[in-house]
């Protein structure tokens, strides 16, 4: 059950490739990697039989929120069923539990007290105490679990931000003391947009007996330009040999920035948002990162994605992406998916989530290859600049 992580290649200029051995996953999973976002343990629209059509073992990391089950399934029942892997029949998958899912279960800092963290969820606002949380974890038996955090948005006062660090560290100690002896513990690091607090939190957590780190408090209103400094302040004090996970970075550029800073594991709520919005990812997976050539003629595209709801696709009998090998692109065309969205059919989301997940997993693969070859910095620059160039052309045309 224990997780193993080794860094295989790291560059001083940022970016590293590692290998994660976790549970009964088939072989080790290379990092940087994407955790598939789930609802109650299964991807939002991809049923387990369809899940096998995604690249393996890349698709074998799942992120779950224990809070989802408070809607109708007692932890004791999950325990009776043998834990999450057994309940979900996903024995060959690595499961990471994080309270916040970034979609429906969001930290509600105003409700959080010294007793526990507050979350806004589909079944109302919930106050989760470290003891309750650890109890849930011991019933669910994930491979990795992130300790309870007091996440605050960027606009809270310095005092509140400082409190959030104190609480998060204290709750980490509580979790460790309760030691449920299941899974690998990732210690939560918060500290908002304050460099000193970020550093203080990271140092405190790094001193504890944790297997890895989870960086929270991003994607909560901070300035994008502040991120690199905040991330490096954190990463600088973390030991190299332990994995680092983050929540709240989703866009391709954000992923690239995170990888540059040395992050190993990312969430995929971006995929969920795209899928609900009717967007299909189309950005180039060229190994150089160049975005210019491939998408020149795409209508309704911002060079990253297309809107399948757009009328132009009404009769478009070509797949979302010509050379894509996912189930959706091999079997269906844009016209059909456009129709499915028009008539509000669930299959639209199923097909789109498959494609977008496949595409993003492949994006991570391309990035890893670039890191291995020592081309990551160049890749990142080319990717960002060719996209920017496109936006500028668009702006000129407009």
């Amino acid at each position: 059950m224990q997780m193993k992580f080794v860094v295989k290649k790291a560059w001083s200029s940022g970016g590293r490739v590692g290998a994660l051995e976790i549970g009964s996953c088939p072989g080790s999973i290379e990092t940087p990697a994407l955790l598939l976002s789930t609802r109650k343990g299964l991807p939002h629209f991809i049923s387990p039989d369809l899940l096998t059509s995604l690249p393996s073992p890349d698709s074998h990391l799942l992120q779950i929120s224990p809070l989802h089950f408070l809607e109708g399934l007692a932890s004791t029942t999950i325990s009776k069923l043998g834990g999450l892997h057994q309940m979900l029949a996903l024995h060959q998958y690595g499961i990471a539990a994080i309270a916040r899912d970034s979609i429906q279960c969001l930290p509600e800092s105003k409700g959080t007290t010294k007793l526990g963290a507050s979350f806004e969820t589909p079944c109302g606002r919930l106050l989760i105490k470290p003891k309750d949380y650890v109890e849930m974890i011991s019933c669910m038996k994930p491979n990795i679990w992130v300790t309870l955090a007091d996440e605050v948005p960027a606009w809270v006062s310095d005092k509140r931000n400082k409190t959030s660090v104190d609480r998060t560290v204290r709750w980490l100690d509580d979790c460790l003391k309760l030691n449920p002896a299941v899974g690998s513990i990732f210690g939560s690091i918060v500290g908002g947009p304050n460099l000193d607090e970020r550093k203080r939190c990271a140092e405190e957590v790094a001193m504890r007996n944790v297997t890895g780190f989870w960086i929270g408090g991003f994607g909560l209103g901070e300035d994008i330009d502040e991120r690199p400094a905040l991330l490096s302040a954190i990463i600088d004090v973390l030991p190299d040999e332990k994995p680092r996970m983050i929540s709240g970075l989703g866009l391709p550029e954000e992923i690239l920035a995170g990888i540059d800073a040395g992050i190993d594991l990312f969430d995929s709520t971006y995929i969920y948002a795209l899928t609900l919005g009717g967007f299909g990812l189309t950005f180039s997976l060229d190994k150089s990162g160049n975005q210019y050539q491939s998408q020149k003629n795409q209508i309704g595209s911002d060079l990253t994605k297309i809107n399948l709801r757009a009328k132009v696709y009404r009769k478009d009998m070509s797949p979302i992406l010509g050379n894509c090998t996912c189930y959706t692109c091999k079997n269906h065309n844009k016209a059909y998916i456009n129709h499915l969205f028009n008539v509000h059919e669930m299959l639209a989301q199923i097909l789109l989530e498959i494609h977008n997940t496949h595409h993003y997993l492949t994006f991570f693969h391309v990035i890893r290859e670039a890191i291995k070859d020592g081309r990551f910095e160049k890749f990142r620059q080319t990717f960002i600049e060719s996209r920017r160039a496109h936006h500028e052309r668009e702006a000129l045309c407009a």
């Binding site: 109650k40 079997n331 028009n342 008539v343 299959l347």
Partner: protein, 412 residues
């Protein structure tokens, strides 16, 4: 004619056949799931193939509105559009106009209805229905019929039956692709045996590739229902497929098959799945029920489908009616159940053990032996001895509406 129908085996009136359609070789009896708008809600084509789905039904009315039959024609038909390699059937569109639209008015010319797009009055004629279905390109297309509620009585039933007969000739004349598509005629006539008889004879005279028994599943009593089916199947030719429209409760399918029907369609299995109900040999299982929350058993311990092999009732309970995955998994199971039922009907007839299969089915669904009277009556006519699964003395009891708690109407 674009089909062959070979009866492989019989048990009295029941038959197991091979139905070869332009896109697929099917085995009957068979259940056709309803994919109203070019998709079975929540399932992919690969999943439908995995569970053994042979024919999907598309609704002409919905498809004509979106994406439109012109578009479907342009992209090579519905098969191409949805990339479904197996067989398709489209209905005439008439039923939806009458059931879904207010102010639908049926005249000799066709069905007049208010356009749901701009509210203007529109007319669907038999010719137009066939033209649209020719564009959609399904393996089987249905004639436009004059649908009336079976619960109505009086001269309207007679008028509708004769009109259906007049319209079938207009449909046949309008059908432009008889070598690619099979036009089925629909027998109407309400619950009146005389009218049904006139209609069946009229339809058979037209020598169509197959026939449907229409106007049922509209809330009529079960006794009338099976008698109409029995009358029609007896009068329809042996070498042509028989399709009972809108039938979807497992028990009804067993009874109709025993009486010699071959094909069925209904939204019931998928719709009821979305409401959180699973089909099981004992009847139905309501996954929303609170006691499911701690039930660690699979939905049906005897079912080998992907859902039952992997998931507990407790887990499905926390998904149903809240998350898309609940609908997806339950629809998968329910359609698997229907496909397995079709396969069991076929093989038990082939292997000469149809009565045993029927008794087995009834024993599970009515463990106390309280098989409804109409089932007993129908089985007697079908020549199937079910005495072993009926309780002694009180042989047959009133149908307890075990399966009929929801969705009585609009099953077609």
């Amino acid at each position: 004619m674009a089909l062959t129908f070979e009866v492989l085996a019989r048990f009295n009136r029941a038959r197991a056949a091979r139905l070869t359609l332009p896109h697929f070789v099917c085995h009957t009896p068979l259940f056709m799931p309803v994919g109203t708008q070019g998709t079975i809600k929540g399932l992919t084509n690969s999943q439908l193939e995995d569970i053994g789905c042979q024919i999907i039904l598309g609704n002409t009315y919905h498809l004509a509105l979106r994406p439109t039959s012109e578009l479907l024609d342009e992209v090579g038909g519905l098969h191409n559009f949805m990339n479904w390699q197996r067989a398709l059937l489209t209905d005439s569109g008439g039923f939806q106009m009458v059931s879904l639209l207010h102010l639908a008015d049926i005249t000799e010319k066709g069905v007049t209805f208010q356009s749901p797009v701009d509210g203007k009055p529109m007319l669907l004629t038999p010719e137009e229905s066939i033209q649209i279905q020719n564009r959609i390109g399904a393996d089987i297309i249905m004639a436009l019929d004059d649908v009336v509620k079976t619960t109505i009585t009086g001269p309207r039933i007679e008028e509708a039956m004769y009109r259906t007969l007049r319209w079938i000739d207009r449909c046949i004349a309008a059908h432009k692709r008889p070598h690619d598509q099979n036009l089925f005629g629909i027998v109407q006539g309400g619950l009146d045996p005389v009218l049904r008889d006139i209609c069946v004879k009229g339809m058979v005279e037209r020598n169509l590739p197959g026939y449907a028994i229409g106007g049922l599943s509209g809330g009529e009593d079960k006794n009338s229902f099976w008698r109409v089916v029995a009358q029609c199947t007896a009068a329809l030719p042996e070498n042509k497929p028989r399709y009972v429209m809108g039938v979807g409760y497992p028990l009804d399918i067993i009874v109709c098959s025993a009486l010699g029907a071959d094909m069925y369609d209904c939204v019931y299995p998928t719709r009821t799945a979305r409401f959180g109900t699973a089909l099981v040999p004992e009847g139905v299982l309501k996954l929303k029920h609170r006691q499911m929350a701690e039930d660690t058993r699979p939905i049906d311990p005897t079912c080998p489908c992907m859902v039952c092999k992997n998931y507990s009732r407790a887990y499905i309970h926390c998904l149903v009616t809240k998350d898309a995955m609940g609908s997806q998994l339950l629809s998968y199971h329910n359609l698997y159940y229907m496909m397995q039922l079709s396969r069991d009907l076929h093989t038990s007839i082939i292997e000469g053990r149809f009565p045993e299969f029927v008794c087995d089915f009834l024993r599970k669904m009515f463990p106390k032996g309280d098989v409804p009277e109409w089932v007993c009556d129908a089985m007697e006519v079908a020549g199937i001895d079910i005495s072993s699964c009926c309780a002694q003395f009180s042989s047959c009891q009133e149908y307890d509406s075990k399966n009929m708690t929801e969705e009585l109407s609009l099953t077609r």
